[in-house]
Subunit: 368 residues, 2 copies
């Protein structure tokens, strides 16, 4: 085998995002065992900073040993029981994925559809939830397929009225936009490490409200998944430290370091940085004649979705960016295929220099 | 947060095992995207060397984005259908875990029990399989809880007679003992990276025979798990490269490097090294008056289970090893709690120097 020699890439797609050298360095430190007190201390540090990022006091805040989609599956397998009604807000790929997971778990899935790139009014959420009275609802706070933000307050309020648990996908908001778990009334929120947290992919942070924990404890049948069973994971990470699985220690080191960087920067400063760089980027895109898919007030600060201008082949643009600069961006998915670019300004990658670089490269690739 | 400063540990437990500096170095190289052609090339390199380690020509050889237990759950969720009869050979913790996963997936689980530390005769396997005619059988080739090896030929032969698929857990044998997937007649084998492959935990290699692939393709209902759905993973890793999840790139780099090291050493040489160091260690243990739990012909070369001598508190010994040398070993689980030590000689850790070190440290900790 030849020596591993990764090509130079500037990761400005929807994730993974660029990683700070400190995170790589921490990730390569010597491992300890998965039952070593040092590992549990690392896990405690992670928990404390995840609480800050999630905006929660939830004691039950931990990390799943899989990527963001494993976090989604953890939420579904633990909280969506077979035969229950699962109300999913579907305005993009990840809402679709939630619905599909619910279906596989034997739930009666009801969907609140919305044009991709748009979000829900409080009244729409209220009407949908009141009509179906689901046991659990789920929504995607930061739709990575569309660049649309849904804070979730209205959905959570409607859900509380019918006693439903609220699942929130914050894969592309955690560490880059306000998640506000406690304030919004979210019961379960999960994320991934490779977006605005600025860490390589491999782990899924998750938090569960006391109400969610109550549900877990009262649940009669175990979740279908043993690997993602939160009751067993609780026994592992909490005081008992009962062996469950061998946690990916190196990824925990990496996550801890990325959270240490967030602590040093301060979450509010970090969110402000994301907002400022997103705004500057959108302004620059307008200067290039590119319109945004999402209305300004619903745009993600982490992921930008300019429309592909008429007469432009988006694949050609992406190929040119990669060939000329090693820049990775992504195209649209599903109904948005060929119609939008997806360009990340998140984590370590969200900087004024990168905004300039991206705008210059796009100008060149678009021939403007 | 204080800077990450892992304590020095000598990992001689049942895994994770010591990691070669080259593997840490590779793991910390800059990531690329999960749809980057370079990533798929890394994946191809991994596949080719995994085929060597598994002893298979199976095209369907890939890596699951979770730890060893995610590999187990992948096997169960894809191949054990609700209502089917699932025959599990239970002679330790990981056989128990397979049975538990089968139960959660709605299978009719039948168990072939054996005293922990022992394995099955061909006749026992034959009688059990003939009596229950399961659709799928599963066994643990290397029982990490007992140190017992079960090659699996007799089990696979019996299974073929009733048309059952054969699942093999080779978490603690892959890269350190013969796995022989094709020769033994195994349909699905999964492993973890943190044992004899000498890589940090985080991924689960898996291989599926053409017969297994045929079952997958004919399967009417999807697996309950979306994250571990092999049909979707096949679309991602194979030529279509359809986005499924964001693979943990850094872990793939690490696994590739650990396999490059195996390629350079040569698998046969490596297995011979494991056998020789295990034999020397067992001989040294006998010199200290320690008997082995497992009969010589069934002992793992990767993980040794000497019995705790009468009058010795095993926890005290482990604490002393940790305090005096930073050596991690493990105790027994379940019926073997307090009765055996579990001491790994695997991967990068399997060396004559480490055998000497372990024997000297044990002599001191046991006061012999």
């Amino acid at each position: 085998m030849t020596p591993l020699n990764p090509p130079k890439r500037l990761l400005f797609g929807p994730g993974p995002s660029p990683v700070h050298p400190r995170v790589y360095e921490a990730m390569s430190r010597p491992i300890v065992g998965h039952l070593d007190p040092f590992f549990f201390q690392v896990n405690e540090d992670i928990r404390r900073m995840l609480q800050v990022c999630f905006g929660t006091k939830n004691e039950f805040t931990m990390t799943i040993s899989g990527t963001g989609s494993a976090g989604m599956e953890t939420a579904v397998t633990n909280f969506v029981e077979p035969g229950s009604t699962f109300g999913v807000f579907v305005n993009g790929v990840f809402g679709e994925r939630l619905a599909e997971m619910g279906r596989r778990h034997g739930a009666n899935v009801v969907r609140c559809e919305k044009t991709w790139g748009e979000t829900y009014t409080d009244a729409e959420a209220e009407d949908f939830v009141a009509a179906h009275k689901p046991q659990v609802v789920a929504f995607v706070q930061a739709e990575t397929s569309t660049g649309c933000y849904t804070p979730g307050d209205g959905i959570a309020r409607a859900a509380r009225k019918v006693g439903a648990l609220v699942i929130c996908d914050c894969v592309t908001s955690l560490g880059g936009m306000p998640v506000r778990v406690d304030e919004a009334g979210i019961d379960i929120a999960y994320s991934g490490t490779q977006k605005a947290l600025g860490c390589p992919p491999g782990l899924a942070p998750i938090t569960v409200s006391p109400r969610g924990v109550g549900f877990l404890k009262a649940r009669k049948s175990p979740s279908v998944s043993w690997y993602l069973d939160l009751k067993l994971l609780l026994d592992y990470y909490e005081s008992a430290h009962r062996y469950h699985h061998t946690a990916p220690i190196s990824m925990f080191y990496a996550l801890r370091e990325s959270l240490a960087i967030i602590e040093e920067e301060g979450l509010e400063t970090r969110l402000g940085r994301h907002k400022a760089n997103h705004s500057a980027f959108v302004k620059g895109l307008a200067g290039l004649g590119l319109e945004m898919l999402v209305a300004p007030e619903h745009q993600l600060w982490t992921l930008n979705t300019p429309k592909v201008p008429g007469g432009v082949n988006e694949l050609d643009v992406r190929k040119k960016l990669m060939a000329d600069y090693g820049i990775e961006i992504a195209g649209g998915l599903g109904p948005l295929a060929g119609k939008v670019f997806r360009i990340g300004t998140m984590g370590y990658g969200s900087s004024p220099e990168n905004v300039e670089l991206l705008l210059g490269a796009l100008k060149s690739a678009l021939g403007r």
